[in-house]
């Protein structure tokens, strides 16, 4: 790009901005608008979920009780912890503490990895129990007893939503972990300073958003109708 400014530009300042403050404001507003689009995106899924939960409550309750609540709860705690480390890494970037920034970013990646590992175990269980809609759906022999009576047909819809919602969430996690690793590389070079840390903040907001989605998914999918 042609340099049009006569004065020397501060590090990290793109040519279209007048100063770093304007750039940071644009980045922050940009991610918030993006998160709004994400809310609408997940919102369509949540709305569909709500309608089918209302239509086929028994099936949804039965399907929910097959999920392993301990794994779900562990993942909830794990993600909350990752939100903490993420917030701490943003804070460290703001204060210019390079080592702490890198350490907290790596911790966030590891917690994200643990979440995906537990999720993989849960997905595996579904294949073992033949309750994967479309691909491997034959719950009659093994899991039927635990499904609500008459709910078998519609339980497939419940598990469809289970996979669609958690799958979409996991996809966002994987994208987020890729962004975090990119941040680790940049942070190690010492690119982030107290006046330029917008990328850490932006990715942080995204990460918190993905956590919040899970905070809604956990009760909606795991805790329906209580456990007895």
């Amino acid at each position: 790009m042609p340099e049009v400014e006569a004065h020397t530009q501060p590090a990290g300042l793109a040519h279209q901005f007048g100063d770093l403050e304007q750039q940071q404001g644009a980045a922050t507003l940009g991610i918030w608008v993006f998160l709004v689009t994400e809310i609408m995106f997940f919102g369509g899924l949540f709305a569909s979920y709500a309608i089918y939960r209302w239509l086929y409550f028994a099936a949804f309750e039965g399907g929910s009780h097959i999920l392993d609540i301990r794994l779900g709860a562990s993942n909830t705690i794990d993600l909350l912890a990752s939100s903490l480390t993420m917030a701490l890494s943003v804070r460290s970037a703001q204060t210019g503490n390079r080592k702490a920034t890198v350490a907290f970013l790596i911790a966030t990646v590891i917690l994200g990895g643990i979440f995906l590992g537990i999720k993989a175990v849960e997905y595996d269980q579904k294949f073992v129990e033949h309750i994967v809609p479309g691909l491997d759906w034959s719950p009659e022999g093994n899991i039927l007893a635990r499904l609500a009576p008459g709910g078998l047909e519609h339980a497939q819809i419940y598990f469809f939503f289970y996979f669609a919602m958690t799958g979409l969430h996991a996809t966002h996690m994987i994208v987020g972990m890729g962004l975090l690793l990119w941040l680790v590389l940049r942070a190690r070079k010492g690119i982030f300073t107290p006046s330029y840390f917008a990328p850490v903040e932006v990715v942080g907001l995204y990460w918190h958003f993905v956590d919040i989605v899970w905070i809604f998914l956990f009760p909606l999918l795991y805790l329906i109708g209580g456990r007895y």
């Binding site: 790009m1 042609p2 340099e3 049009v4 793109a14 040519h15 279209q16 901005f17 007048g18 304007q22 404001g25 644009a26 507003l29 940009g30 608008v33 993006f34 709004v36 689009t37 994400e38 609408m40 995106f41 997940f42 919102g43 369509g44 899924l45 709305a47 569909s48 309608i51 089918y52 239509l55 809609p133 479309g134 691909l135 047909e153 519609h154 497939q156 819809i157 469809f160 669609a164």
Partner: protein, 542 residues
């Protein structure tokens, strides 16, 4: 700054067009103006594709039993015509071409806030377009552009998944464009350019961007679910599998009704600019016109149920949706009345952009008022699914959005290309488009009112006269679209060189050379007056 290796033939000053040559400088450009031109070329391509589907349909419908194609092919023609024209021409048309080009220029910035995202949005658009073209070549799709289940599920034997993926992907290009505009308009306005000094085109872009960012994700997730349903055969929308087809329609129209305003609001913004310039007057009721754009964007999200009056949604929902749909008429009428009041006692000149703008006002008014027939529960039961609907939305989308788009292209062409086009040809083309358009679509109002259903390859013999009129009009309309394509391309090489402000218009984009330099402005301008200070300019200047 890179030194010039290629000196242009004439001693033109450096600008964004001659700054660099070669295909790489276009495909990897981050310049909003060049990206706008990438979009211009791409959507013109899709316009030609979508238009040829329409040509085939109109030829087919010259005879009651169908003159050209098999009924299955006819189904694919109207489906692909709708999909290509809506998702690949109308929705990106003004925002991605004129918006991309003008938003930074109008607010006095060097570029959009996120140039890389801007380029990415074009690539996403192209990938989505390729999926759609693939599906068109590899078997077509026959669900109608709305993808209603069970056409798109139980009874689908065509490329539904490929085209759904194409539309899904393209949606993200729309989201990124909207996001970019919102942030740019919030954060990058030149000193002194307050919200109420912004040109109304920017208000329209802002309102459009809100719809793009709020609505498009819902379409994306809907199509995502439709594709998953296809892949895994689990009932979400398909009634045969235990799904709810009405849910699909709710989710689909939650986006696709506001999408109508994605198409029409930018055209309204263009018309505000043109009317003010060619009447040499400040827009009457500037603030109200600006807020009416936002009001249309907000109300537009609350009216989707009027597409579903005959689907079995609750009567009470129907009543509310009907009432809310009528409310949209208020901000729309405010705009029309304010444009008319702006013309009152203006010193009007009838250059080509103005002809398109005046055509827009008339045709949009007709399209809008016939919309009220469809927003009324009782008349909608009679008119739903007939050619009346087809005529109504073509008056809005072609008579409105395309006229606005062409008006805008003609208004800003000297700025975009640095050249002027032959005004007599342009005026002639505008007149031909207007005549051809009305001849094509007015008979369809009558056909629909008489009960001819849409989307049929055959019709009763007594409807032939009106159908032949419509086909004849389509031919004229096609000629009207072809002429600008020829003289605009011609003008790029042979047209007279345009001065910075050939129309004597207000606005920052006219204060920089034509075509603008890559960095838009030598110095970031400072704004000290309201938009459309035409009367002030005349008393002070000439």
């Amino acid at each position: 700054m890179s030194t010039a290796t290629l000196e242009p033939r004439v001693h033109a000053p450096r600008n964004y067009l001659n700054a660099d040559y070669g295909i790489r400088s276009w495909l990897f450009t981050l310049d909003h103006k060049r990206i706008a031109l990438l979009y211009l070329v791409s959507i013109t391509f899709f316009f030609v594709i979508g238009g040829s589907f329409a040509v085939l349909m109109r030829i087919h419908l010259t005879e009651p039993q169908g003159a050209l194609v098999q009924p299955e092919t006819y189904n694919k023609l109207f489906t692909l015509h709708g999909i290509v024209m809506i998702f690949f021409f109308l929705i990106p048309s003004i925002p991605a071409v004129l918006g991309n080009f003008l938003v930074p220029l109008m607010i006095g910035a060097r570029d959009l806030a996120f140039p890389r995202l801007n380029l990415l949005s074009w690539y996403i658009f192209i990938v989505g377009g390729l999926f759609t073209l693939y599906s068109a070549i590899g078997g077509g799709v026959d669900t109608g552009w709305t993808f209603y289940t069970p056409y798109s599920s139980t009874y689908s034997n065509t490329q539904v998944t490929a085209v759904a993926v194409g539309v899904f992907i393209t949606g993200f290009s729309s989201i990124l464009t909207g996001l970019n505009f919102i942030v740019t308009i919030h954060k990058m306005r030149a000193p002194g350019l307050t919200w109420f000094r912004m040109p109304l085109f920017l208000w329209a872009m802002y309102a459009t961007s809100i719809i793009m960012t709020l609505g498009t994700p819902v379409l994306a997730i809907t199509i995502f679910l439709l594709a998953l349903e296809h892949l895994f055969h689990v009932g979400i929308f398909s009634p045969a599998l235990g799904g709810d087809p009405l849910l699909f329609q709710h989710l689909f129209w939650f986006y696709s009704h506001p999408a109508v305003y994605i198409m029409i609001l930018p055209a309204m913004g263009v018309v505000s600019e043109i009317i003010a310039c060619f009447a040499r007057k400040r827009i009457f009721g500037y603030k109200v016109v600006g807020f009416s754009s936002v009001a249309i964007a907000v109300l537009g999200f609350l009216v989707w149920g009027h597409h579903m009056f005959v689907t079995g949604q609750s009567v009470y929902a129907g009543l509310i949706f009907s009432l809310l749909s009528f409310l949209v008429a208020i901000p729309s009428a405010i705009k029309v009345f304010n444009w008319t009041s702006t013309l009152y006692k203006g010193s009007i000149s009838y250059d080509a952009p103005m002809l398109y703008a005046l055509g827009f006002i008339g045709l949009f008014t007709m399209g809008g008022l016939t919309g009220l027939f469809l927003a009324s529960l009782a008349t909608d039961v009679h008119l739903n699914g007939t050619y009346f609907i087809v005529a109504h939305f073509h008056y809005i989308m072609v008579g409105g959005a395309v006229m606005g788009y062409l008006g805008g292209i003609h208004f800003w062409w000297p700025k975009i290309s640095g050249r002027k086009y032959p005004n007599a040809w342009a005026a002639l083309a505008a007149a031909i488009v207007f005549v051809g358009f009305n001849l094509t679509f007015f008979p369809q109002f009558i056909l629909g009112y008489l009960g001819m259903p849409r989307r049929y390859a055959f019709y009763p013999a007594e409807f032939q006269v009106l159908n032949v009129m419509s086909s004849a009009g389509a031919t004229i309309l096609g000629v009207g679209y072809l002429i600008p394509l020829i003289y605009l391309i011609w003008s790029m090489r042979y047209g007279p060189v345009a001065e910075p402000n050939p129309w004597g218009a207000t606005g920052l984009e006219w204060k920089t050379p034509s075509p603008p330099p890559t960095e838009n402005f030598a110095e970031i301008p400072v704004v000290e007056e309201e938009a459309y200070a035409y009367s002030a300019e005349e008393t002070a200047g000439a």
